[in-house]
């Protein structure tokens, strides 16, 4: 269990507020996601909770231990996977794993069942030096090393950044399995599409929490009708739509535009507005909002 109350961390003598009065709670056995763009303060929160960084003020506990006073206890009970790969590149897979097991006074055999599913995938290369592994394999090894001492809480700081789509999928599947084994997991990611895979998420921006809820609730609280527009002339469409006076918000979203209107009763007017210009074939659909839509909406409201 993790509790965070009014946590504040500033850098450069208080001029940069990296974490600005944040409070949240992660329940036992929960997969909790911190979602936010780069610089939102995710890593600072992680470093404080893993006792690497002292907060300016506020209280936080991990498994009931205070992050400032009981840091020794916390270090025994958490697994941490930093955003940057930080295992010894000149040691082999097996040596790294063995080293981190012995550091925690345990052995690979003792907790093998916990890492088995992940470790079997990289075991064929166990004599290869870590520096020569692919990104996905490094990620799996890092997860194994963070798990090898059977932690109660797992901290994963952007574990999927720089990993290919397939490996990302696999990685989230592994997290699901670990969660089912009773681990509490705090994970951060800048990818909004991964947010839906968490039990609950906190959307972060500029060191502040915009919203905390389950992904489904956050999507449900969008509260607006969302349209997706696409045409062969996307840029012209975007410019035209942004000039529309009934437009509430309009963003380019992959190969389409996501649009909300100020007054949804005037939807027919939209068609006539679009017909004034020649866009070729325009496709307009009402769609379900994603977490990213919610995030952009929350950003606008703040």
């Amino acid at each position: 269990m993790i509790t965070v109350q009014h946590l504040i961390k500033t850098y450069n003598k208080g001029t940069v507020k990296a974490v600005n009065d944040i409070s949240f709670e992660v329940k036992d056995g929960e997969l909790f996601g911190l979602i936010g763009p780069d610089g939102a303060g995710k890593s600072s929160i992680f470093r404080m909770l893993t006792t690497l960084l002292l907060p300016d003020s506020g209280i936080a506990t991990v498994n009931g231990y205070d992050i400032v006073n009981d840091f020794q206890n916390i270090r025994n009970h958490i697994g941490y996977m930093p955003g940057r790969f930080s295992l010894y590149q000149d040691l082999t897979i097996e040596e790294n794993l063995e080293f981190f097991a012995t550091v925690f006074n345990t052995s690979i055999e003792e907790n093998y069942d916990l890492i088995k599913d992940i470790y079997v995938q990289i075991e064929p290369f166990k004599d290869r030096r870590t520096g020569k592994l692919s990104g996905g394999m490094k990620q799996k090894l890092a997860l194994c090393c963070a798990l090898i001492h059977k932690p109660d809480v797992l901290f994963l700081d952007e574990p999927t950044t720089g990993v290919d789509v397939v490996s990302r999928r696999e990685f989230w599947d592994m997290l699901k399995k670990l969660k089912n084994q009773g681990l509490t997991i705090l994970v951060s990611t800048p990818y909004m599409d991964e947010a839906g895979l968490c039990d609950r998420i906190a959307l972060l921006q500029n060191g502040q929490i915009l919203s905390i809820d389950t992904p489904a609730h956050i999507v449900a609280s969008f509260g607006d009708i969302l349209y997706s527009l696409s045409s062969p002339k996307m840029y012209k469409l975007l410019v035209t739509m942004r000039a529309y006076d009934n437009m509430n918000s309009c963003f380019a979203f992959g190969d389409s535009l996501h649009l909300t209107l100020k007054d949804n009763s005037k939807k027919d007017e939209l068609y006539s507005y679009l017909k004034k210009s020649d866009f070729g074939e325009i496709e307009i659909n009402q769609i379900m909002p994603t977490i990213e839509d919610c995030f952009i909406k929350l950003l606008k409201e703040n």
């Binding site: 690497l52 002292l54 270090r75 040691l91 040596e95 550091v103």
Partner: protein, 372 residues
């Protein structure tokens, strides 16, 4: 303690895996120790000499033979006059010019005294001083011989003359290698010790691996100890190899006991590695460490009496030099090597090194934090 064992295992694995590192750590010092004592030599040989002989007598020839036979001088040319000799010095072809006056032999026999004109090129101070010194020694020797052969023994007791007969204790024949080989060995150990201890921790910082270590329950004292011990061992090995090279190539071996020597080495390494560690706690990248270590190594080399004498430094430099473990170790090394000093003789230096080491190590441990 168990975690220390695993930390050491890891450090040694990493050390032996880095082939390039081991090669430079071992082979480079060995080559340096073999070659450098020959090159870094204070005793000046091959001083270029030009002679202007106005006399052309048997005496003048004897004098010339004596000077050139000493081995220090190489006769470059015989010049016709003073101007020609000075020209040689100006062109940097000659270091020293001797002018033997006309009627040198005649005057010497008749009047009992003659003056010789010696001109020294003083661009290289040390060389000039030594050349002048050698020459006056040879001349006075020549003088004495002359007296013996030509001057009638005085009927009465001659005026008392104090003649000085220096005896070089501990290094009877002023064997230069006895001085320089321990110096270079200490110099090498200092460089290796500081650099490696400093780099090692910073490497973990730069690679980000320290992040993962810091969240583990490892005690920082163990972690630091695990970092230092491998280089402690490595330095001892290199030192031992260095001693062997000194014996095989230069016949330099300690008069004193090996035990005393290694005890002082332990004290020295304790201080040295602590200093390297301290540097690493203050730097974030290997580049920063490199610059810091380079700066300090330079100061240590110039000011710790490795090659120059501490006694002739100004007061502030003496005090500063007393804070360097290197100064104490080189002193202790020379005492053991040449004099055969015992532990009690070098106790001041031992305690100084341990004291300085304690300060460095405590400072380093306090400055290294697992949390920021």
């Amino acid at each position: 303690m168990r975690s220390l064992y695993f930390l050491l295992e890891k450090e040694f694995k990493q050390m032996f895996r880095s082939k390039g590192l081991l090669r430079t750590l071992f082979i480079a010092p060995i080559i340096q120790l073999i070659l450098m004592p020959m090159a870094a030599n204070y005793s000046v040989k091959n001083i270029s000499l030009v002679i202007v002989d106005h006399d052309h007598s048997s005496f003048s020839r004897q004098l010339i033979t004596k000077v050139t036979a000493s081995g220090h001088f190489r006769l470059e040319a015989i010049c016709a006059n003073t101007e020609a000799a000075l020209k040689e010095i100006e062109l940097d072809k000659a270091d020293i010019a001797i002018e033997i006056p006309d009627k040198f032999e005649q005057g010497l026999v008749r009047e009992g005294s003659q003056k010789i004109n010696v001109q020294v090129n003083a661009i290289e101070g040390v060389k000039a001083g030594l050349a002048g010194g050698y020459l006056s020694a040879i001349l006075s020797d020549f003088n004495a011989e002359l007296r013996l052969h030509w001057v009638q023994p005085a009927r009465f007791e001659p005026a008392p003359v104090i003649s000085i007969m220096p005896i070089n204790w501990y290094n009877k024949f002023m064997n230069y290698y006895l001085f320089i080989v321990p110096g270079i060995l200490v110099n090498l150990i200092t460089g290796i010790g500081i650099m490696q201890a400093a780099f090692n921790l910073v490497k973990e910082k730069e690679m980000g691996t320290i992040e993962q270590i810091n969240v583990t329950p490892i005690k920082k004292q163990y972690f630091i100890l695990g970092k230092l011990l491998p280089f402690f061992v490595l330095s001892i090995v290199i030192f031992t190899v260095g001693l062997m090279i000194g014996y095989v190539f230069y016949n330099v071996y300690p008069v004193g006991s090996f035990l005393t020597m290694y005890v002082s080495l332990f004290a020295f390494l304790f201080a040295l590695l602590g200093f390297g560690l301290l540097l690493s706690t203050y730097s974030e990248t290997q580049q920063q460490t490199m610059s810091l270590a380079f700066f300090f190594l330079n100061v240590l080399n110039m000011m710790s009496g490795l090659f120059t004498s501490i006694e002739s430094m100004p007061q502030w430099a003496k005090i500063l030099s007393g804070c360097f473990p290197v100064s104490h170790f080189i002193k202790a090394m020379r005492m053991i090597m040449l004099k055969g000093s015992s532990l009690s003789d070098i106790s001041f230096h031992l305690w100084s090194m341990l004291g300085v080491g304690l300060v460095f190590n405590t400072w380093a441990i306090l400055n290294y934090r697992k949390r920021s």
